[in-house]
């Protein structure tokens, strides 16, 4: 590791001032960051610790939206009643991320900022239409998560002086059901080889009113499957529709992966994942919940 200073500011403003020159880096759980420091891939002049800034750990429910602080750990996300109620796939993803030791310290903001193609927290947030709250000493912005991911394509998600303070997403319409599923090599600590989040709102008469499907580990960054969503909306929940959508998802994934070595495997494996997710969503919706 190179030499760096470590500061623990007492307020968000103070933290942002330490980032202003672009030479600072926020450290929260550090489970990704410390590895990058060890490998010499990052050489910041200072690390900015967030322990004394409670503002980054808020969980807020308003009439139409939910706000989650960037400093919330995956362990908290997995067990929070608020997250389970309004963002069930995010709670499911959080529970499957890493191991106990990682979940205890790794944070939602870190998961987004690291910018991994397989980021478990990002896939459900995409399906939930999340916006990312970003602060710097210059400005205070809200960026749609998908735009933020577009910004990078393998590079850093954030500019040098920026910091993620939280995410917000609209409360799902009543009756919306969501699920997150991932494929990995073992249960604990697996980095997703492929992950999918589906959120469906089925109206009376079994007609799908809203659909959001996001994929992870299937390209440089997680993405939404707009075509597959279009196929679903306005149609009845039928087994034939599932098959049609599964084919479309597989096609979109193959297109996104191009001629990568993993493409044949993943475009086949995604069918099982997509079918399971859709069937489960439909089943729950059918159950009249």
């Amino acid at each position: 590791m190179g030499y760096f200073d470590y500061v623990r500011p007492n307020s968000l403003e103070e933290a942002l001032s330490y980032l202003a020159d672009g030479e600072g880096k926020v450290i929260a759980g550090g489970t990704d960051l410390v590895l990058l420091l060890k490998e010499g891939k990052l050489q910041p002049q200072r690390l900015v610790g967030l322990q004394r800034i409670p503002a980054v750990c808020v969980m807020e429910e308003e009439a139409k939206k939910i706000t989650l602080g960037a400093g919330i750990s995956f362990a908290k996300l997995a067990t929070s009643p608020l997250v389970q109620l309004y963002a069930r796939p995010l709670a499911q993803a959080a529970l499957q991320m890493g191991s106990v030791q990682i979940r205890n310290v790794a944070t939602l903001g870190g998961n987004i900022a690291t910018g991994s193609p397989a980021a478990d927290g990002v896939v459900p947030l995409l399906a939930l239409d999340a916006r990312v709250l970003i602060r710097s000493s210059r400005e205070n912005v809200k960026v749609e998560l998908y735009r933020l991911l577009d910004r990078k394509a393998g590079q850093a998600v954030l500019r040098g002086d920026e910091m993620i303070v939280g995410v917000e997403f609209p409360k799902p319409f009543p009756g919306t059901r969501g699920i997150f599923i991932k494929l990995g090599r073992r249960n604990a600590k697996n980095i997703a080889r492929l992950s999918l989040c589906a959120c469906l709102k089925v109206g009376s008469g079994g007609v799908i009113e809203r659909a959001a499907i996001a994929l992870g580990a299937a390209g440089p960054f997680p993405f939404r499957l707009i075509e597959a969503e279009r196929l679903l909306v306005g149609n009845q929940c039928m087994p034939e529709l599932i098959e049609e959508v599964v084919e479309e998802i597989s096609r979109a994934l193959a297109k996104n992966l191009g001629n990568r070595a993993s493409a044949p495997y993943k475009s086949y494996a995604i069918r099982g994942l997509a079918r399971e997710a859709l069937e489960q969503c439909f089943k729950v919706c059918d159950g009249g919940e």
């Binding site: 590791m1 470590y6 410390v34 050489q43 002049q45 106990v100 030791q101 310290v105 249960n187 600590k189």
Partner: protein, 171 residues
């Protein structure tokens, strides 16, 4: 430009700083460099070698310690970040040297120790679970130790030991 940059970094003072934290119930102060890892500070500066070093990348779990009651990997933790916190290592399990905690007894009774390298981490992961959930299911124990690798036992005896420790604590 680039060489200036690297010169600046090399000549930058590697400033040590004092950190203070509760270690196994006693307050300690130690001077550390900002890039020192908790596992190294515990072993090399504080002499507590019960915490092991393995993969160094947060995969194997032999470096597990408790920070404020939660299991963490000390190989992925910068020592400066635990300033003001409460750390427990395997040495802090019992107050008296030579005495065994119920958890350690359960590991002995079940024969859950072979080479022993994973044992301190395993025991602390189970401790974190039992402190939060005194009546765990088999599944709960499996989840609790899923971030700790053991290459000898096949895990069954470790899981049994976790369950037995819960029973022993109840008594």
């Amino acid at each position: 430009m680039k060489s200036d940059e690297s010169k600046k970094r090399i000549s930058a003072p590697e400033s040590e700083r004092m950190i203070a934290f509760d270690l196994n119930g006693k307050s300690v102060s130690v001077s550390v460099v900002p890039d020192a890892l908790l596992v190294d500070v515990l072993r090399d500066q504080l002499g507590l070698t019960g915490t092991k070093k393995g993969c160094g990348i947060g995969e194997c779990g032999v470096c597990t310690v408790l920070l404020n009651g939660k299991a963490i990997y000390s190989c992925l933790t910068l020592a400066v970040t635990v300033d003001g916190g409460k750390v427990m290592t395997i040495e802090g399990l019992t107050a008296k040297e030579g005495q065994l905690d119920l958890l350690q007894e359960a590991f002995v009774e079940e024969g859950a120790v072979q080479c022993g390298y994973c044992t301190p981490g395993m025991i602390l992961s189970v401790k974190a679970l039992l402190d939060e959930n005194p009546n765990p299911t088999r599944e709960d124990v499996i989840t609790a130790i899923s971030g700790n690798l053991c290459r000898c036992t096949g895990y069954v005896k470790i899981i049994n030991a976790g369950l037995r420790a819960a029973e022993n604590r109840e008594r």
